[in-house]
Amino acid sequence: MQIQEVISLLRNFSAKEELLQRLVTPEIEALVAKIPKPVGSFGFDAWGYNEDSFKLGLATFKLLYDHYFRVQVHGLEHIPKNGRVLIVPNHSGQLPMDGVLIGIATATNPKGPRAARAMIERFFPTVPWLGNLMNSWGGVIGDPVNCNKMLEADEAIIVFPEGVRGSGKLYKDRYKLQRFGNGFMHLAMNNRTPIVPCGVVGCEETMPAIANIAPLAKLLGIPYAPIVPSLFPLPAKVILNFGPPLHFPPVKTEDEVTQRVEQVKDEIRRLIDKGLKERTSIY
């Protein structure tokens, strides 16, 4: 090879392009092409979701999904191929790893892939790079206006009604559902949206917290500051169980809404128990 050729090759070499080609396989391209998600002329939607960025995120986390957490998933047929849907799981593991894994499961669903939107904490947009990055993968701040508009646009949304109460709980409280907010039920009823319950097993063990240093969390302005064995999630085996869609026609009083939230909690409990029985080893 002549020197000139080497130089021209080097000149055309782009680390970014190379990485993209290695990661974003034809399978990923084919999956994303099947996702029923309208975007604008530059591949963005109103919340900052971007197709190219989503492909890259999907490809990266798919590696963790397959080889690190070895995710086993059941009931994907319950997620509608298109149309609005709320996916409601239990929340655990300090970091929102469960949201990411559910996102990968829905995006790689052989029965009809979806780009599920996760509701993220309100402080994320103020963090440089990370805020935009999470938006480009489909994350949106958990505002009811956002939720309503996305359901109107027939999107799939992942909601954790436990919020930080769930993700921040200690290891001794594992697989105990914390208080659910009622907001998701109002959203589902007002927008005639089916709720697909989901039981997540394994994420509790990715980051088992023995204590929470509340004063430190307050000082740092973050929801919680747990004492954990490792800052990187441990390789626990994760089992996801999606249940049949639940439909709820509107009701008047908040008491009735709470009763319905309890129905969803019961179903999630059932799916968690199913997952715990299916699990043969924790790691």
Partner: protein, 327 residues
């Protein structure tokens, strides 16, 4: 309250409506005037200069908050007002801007009431919503206007709207329509965003690239004329259903990025003040380059049957080409 109508100037003999257009020297108003000319009798006013207009279009240099403004209503029987002209924040001091934009608009609305003007269109801006990290996307028209929470320099925009709102419910006979467009760009447009994208080096905040909406000035002119002709009073966002992050738009316009640290928030403000970037990257607009203000334009689109004819690429091509031409 019964308002006794003053006798206005002589009605047009040809039976055409007479339309007063403010801000006539601006790129948008010029296009609106061109679209109305012939079908209506147009009266052009601007506070900056007496605009050169086509034959048959009377043109005045006048400041709305000054007394001479009323003479126009005495000399012409004004049927409708398209209030497009506004002093941009980079064009004048805060006090003078407040006088012109808020007190001037009050004077205008008072005169409209006094001389029985049947329709008033107010050209507002998406800035009124304010850029905040907590903003949901696709804001509806009833979303709170939080611009004044972000900065004192946008108080006049919000005040102009609340003033127009008071007249909207108190004087339904004025048929007031308020339009809140997203970023309007195109040849001749002199707003901050257009000036910014005309630069070779364009400041961007490191790690922040909020989603934005852009509208071609020709599409905005069409929207204004349509809103005027269909006359359905109310408040409307005017925006397309297409979105792009700011930094991508900067690239598409052929600009080179000039990275500025985005946090802590005082740094970009200090840089903007020190380097005198007031015209195109003013300190008080910095939040708009950090957090998104995305409008839901559905109400306007459905009420008036309007869709923009030019896409994002058409809009950016103009900025790219001007740079190539000057290089």
């Amino acid at each position: 309250m019964v308002v006794e109508k003053k006798k206005a100037g002589p009605a047009a003999e040809d039976g055409k409506k007479t339309v007063l257009v403010t801000g006539a020297a601006g790129a948008l108003a010029k296009r609106v005037i061109a679209r109305l000319h012939g079908r209506y009798n147009v009266v052009a006013v601007d506070f900056r200069r007496k605009v050169e207009t086509d034959a048959g279009i009377p043109s005045y240099k006048v400041e709305m908050e000054k007394r001479g403004f009323e003479d126009i209503f005495l000399n012409h029987k004004i049927d409708a007002v398209l209030h497009i002209g506004r002093i941009f924040a980079h064009e004048s001091s805060r006090d003078r801007r407040y006088n012109a934009n808020v007190l001037g608009a009050k004077k205008l609305l008072e005169l409209c009431k006094k001389y029985g003007v049947g329709q008033v269109l107010i050209h507002s801006t998406y800035y009124v919503y304010g850029a905040s990290a907590y903003n949901p996307a696709l804001l509806d028209e009833d979303h709170p206007l939080k611009a004044s929470e972000v900065t004192m320099d946008l108080v006049d925009s919000v005040e102009l709207e609340s003033l127009a709102n008071i007249y909207l419910w108190k004087h339904p006979e004025l048929n007031i329509t308020i339009l809140r467009p997203c970023n309007v760009l195109g040849p001749g447009v002199r707003n901050s965003m257009s000036l910014l994208l005309s630069h070779t080096y364009t400041p961007v905040l490191l790690g922040f690239s909020p989603m934005m909406q852009f509208l071609h000035v020709d599409d905005m002119a069409d929207a204004l004329v349509l809103a005027f002709e269909k006359n359905k009073p109310g408040i409307y966002n005017v925006a397309p259903d297409d979105y792009i992050p700011y930094q991508r738009a900067v690239e598409e316009c052929g600009c080179r990025k000039l990275p500025v640290p985005g946090i802590p928030p005082v740094i970009p403000k200090i840089m903007s003040s020190l380097l005198n970037w007031g015209a195109f990257f003013p300190p008080y607009l910095i939040n708009y380059f950090k957090y998104p203000v995305i409008l839901d334009g559905k109400l306007f689109q459905e009420t008036f049957g309007w869709k923009p004819k030019r896409n994002l690429n058409d809009i950016f091509t103009y900025y790219r080409k001007t740079k190539l031409a000057s290089a």
